[in-house]
């Protein structure tokens, strides 16, 4: 599987990430065996419903997963270093510096008792040994860069005095102050009006072109993904179910969940009697039943009368050039004799290799 690779290897490589939450009601497997790559300068979109684990994955990268959750397994390689092996202090040196993150609710993500200029300046104070005045000046410049009008004066404002769109600009300013190599954007436009959303996306594209930062763009909005991302990972219930470039996702979606997501976007001019909907709800991530996690909502499974879906959990395997799917429609399972109804040649090979020697 290839990805746009501008330098020596990927900037971010996640292998077998498992992040579990140990709650009173049981263990919630929020992320259960996730592999992901982001090359330098590349924009990856991570798509999924609320609760699918997309945010938790990125919090795991930042090592900001709070009690009762923790990373139980896996590797997170950033520029060749496993982030999970670093000390907290080393991690703090990376955060806000080489890896930045912006969040969903910009207004509540800013501290209400500090002025916004000071909050941006704080990033400089933490990571660069410059004076407070210098930091303040740089902060004003950043605010100007992200399109805050009258930046010098606005820097004195408190968060409750600015709008949501402006707040997100401030967050972007904070995140990009130190020219990070990786920017993680966790649903940055979800809480904003559509017109503001367009402005923020423009801004992000602009900043990306200037800085050549890699971006992981988390969203549930496929339209936003189409605008921003080069590659897409579709997540469901803690796993990636489809992983390919953005064009393929729209032209050749494979996984029934992806198909369902795309179908549920109403298009102007299309006549339909009812909104297409994926029946059922996301399963609780505690006490998951065996088999594919999407099985309970999967129409093709019912139509094709596939029994394996409720028995064995499929792996993420290739179905073509740079396109991976986690679905029994596309992969054989030799131990049970299941043959993929929609298989292509390549998938068979990998499947055979995978299951050779397991004997179960």
């Amino acid at each position: 599987m290839t990805s746009k690779d501008n330098g020596t290897g990927n900037l971010l490589e996640i292998r077998g990430l498992k992040t579990y939450f140990f709650t009173e009601d049981g263990v919630v497997k929020a992320v259960d065996g996730l592999d992901l790559e982001v090359a330098r300068g590349e924009t990856l979109g991570v798509v999924g419903e609320s609760g699918c684990g997309k945010s938790v994955t990125m919090f795991s990268v930042m090592r900001l997963v709070g009690h009762p959750g923790r990373v139980v397994d896996g590797e997170i390689m950033f520029d060749g270093q496993n982030l999970l092996d670093l000390s907290e202090r080393e991690m703090q040196q990376l955060r806000g510096n080489r890896i930045s993150m912006i969040f969903q609710q910009p207004l509540s993500s800013l501290n209400p008792v500090f002025r916004i200029g000071d909050q941006v300046a704080e990033v400089f104070e933490i990571h660069q040994s410059i004076s407070r005045d210098e930091a303040r000046q740089k902060a004003v410049e950043m605010l100007r860069l992200v399109g805050i009008p009258d930046a010098e004066r606005r820097a004195q404002a408190f968060p409750h005095e600015i709008s949501g769109g402006q707040a997100q600009r401030v967050m972007i300013a904070m995140a990009l102050s130190t020219q990070p190599e990786l920017l993680i954007a966790d649903e940055p436009t979800t809480a904003l009006d559509v017109t503001i959303q367009a402005q923020i996306l423009d801004l992000m594209r602009d900043m990306r072109d200037r800085s050549n930062a890699a971006i992981v763009f988390i969203t549930h909005d496929l339209g936003v993904v189409a605008e921003m991302a080069e590659r897409v990972a579709v997540m469901y219930a803690g796993q990636i179910v489809e992983y390919t470039d953005v064009q393929s996702i729209y032209d050749r979606p494979k996984h029934p969940y992806t198909v369902g997501l795309l179908a549920s976007i109403p298009k102007l001019g299309e006549k339909k009697h009812r909104l297409a909907v994926i029946p059922g709800t996301v399963p609780a991530l505690v006490d998951l039943p065996p088999g594919c996690r999407f099985a309970g909502r999967c129409i093709p499974r019912v139509e094709q009368e596939l029994a394996i879906c409720t028995e064995v959990d499929p792996d993420l395997l290739s179905v073509g050039e740079d396109h991976q799917v986690r679905c029994w429609l596309y992969h054989d399972h030799p131990p049970t004799g299941h043959e993929a109804p929609l298989a292509t040649g390549r998938a068979d090979e990998e499947a055979a290799l995978r299951w050779a020697g397991t004997g179960d």
Binding site: E24, G296, I299, E303
Partner: protein
């Protein structure tokens, strides 16, 4: 409908596993301290209401005897009337019986007061929230002010002003009335908040949008939810009233001797502090245990009824 959709309908129609009440009890049970508190509270209530009936002593009567010969006996001693587990007080009365009897007074008072203040508070809060406008503004101003006033001096002066013989039940009834005059403010705020959120425009619109027949369902959900914070407040208040009554009786503005109350027993005990310090320990300990257990229960109840903290009313 496709085959698939039919299949899903079945799965979705699966019945819920536990009722709301069971869920609440399950969450409550997780709090060990609250379970201990519950046990202690039940034991205390049982002991205080049934106990005095079981002991051979009377808490008040001093047998016709030469008063100069009466003195306090230490625990586990035998006096002219029998074996005293906790000894006697300075007038020869069995201490344990007095302790239990006093508990009866303190606990009964607390329960009655709590019920009445919740009722009064609910009515006031309901009126205030429902009518709104200047009625609401005035009532809430009053509530705010009364709420901030230090209660102890007010209770004391009210107690002094109400003549004990004008009311049946004497000092105990006066005490109850006194507590009610200030105690209703807390629940009135809570209930007002509930009523306001019920009156909320968005909610009414949503009810109509979902279909008016659902109004009954919504009410069936809203009312149990509205009861929750009131129940928690009431539980916590029981502990508060027990301590409050004890404080007033200790100062002499509550239950009057010879009727025993944990508070006035402490007052008597203070005089004996040099010779019989344990007499200070017992009534205070019972007050403390009662207050503590109801606090634990109330806190756990709050957690069990509302684990996500959605219903906590503001200050």
């Amino acid at each position: 409908m496709t085959v698939a959709e039919l299949a899903f309908q079945e799965e979705l129609a699966a019945p819920q596993e536990e009722s709301q009440a069971q869920a609440v009890w399950r969450r409550f049970r997780r709090h060990r301290l609250a379970m201990i508190g519950l046990t202690i509270a039940v034991l205390l209530v049982f002991a205080c209401f049934i106990g005095p009936l079981l002991t051979p002593f009377d808490s008040n009567t001093i047998r016709g005897r030469d008063l100069l010969l009466l003195k306090d006996l230490p625990p586990l001693s035998t006096g002219p009337d029998g074996f005293h587990i906790l000894g006697t007080d300075s007038l020869g009365r069995d201490y344990l019986t007095r302790l239990l009897q006093g508990g009866r007074v303190s606990l009964a008072l607390a329960f009655v007061v709590v019920i009445l203040t919740q009722v009064v508070g609910t009515i006031v809060g309901g009126i205030s929230g429902y009518y709104g406008g200047w009625v609401d503004a005035v009532l809430m101003r009053i509530v705010d002010f009364l709420f901030t006033l230090p209660s102890l001096p007010i209770f004391m002066v009210l107690y002094v002003l109400i003549p004990k013989d004008a009311v049946p039940g004497g000092s105990i009834t006066v005490l109850a009335l006194v507590f009610i005059t200030l105690g209703w403010t807390g629940s009135s705020r809570l209930v007002r908040g509930m009523v306001l959120s019920l009156k909320n425009q968005e909610f009414a619109e949503a009810a109509r949008a979902v279909g008016a027949s659902n109004r009954r369902i919504i009410l069936r959900h809203m009312i149990p939810n509205a009861i929750a914070p009131v129940l928690v407040a009431a539980t916590l208040q029981v502990g508060g009233i027990v301590v409050g009554e004890a404080a007033l009786s200790y100062l002499g503005f509550g239950v009057q001797p010879p009727d025993p109350s944990w508070g006035n027993m402490l007052q008597g005990a203070q005089k004996l502090i040099l010779t019989r310090p344990m007499q200070v320990f017992y009534p205070g300990m019972t007050i403390f245990l009662t207050s503590l257990s109801f606090n634990f229960i109330g806190d756990a109840l709050r957690d069990a009824l509302d684990p996500r903290g959605q219903l906590s009313a503001g200050h």
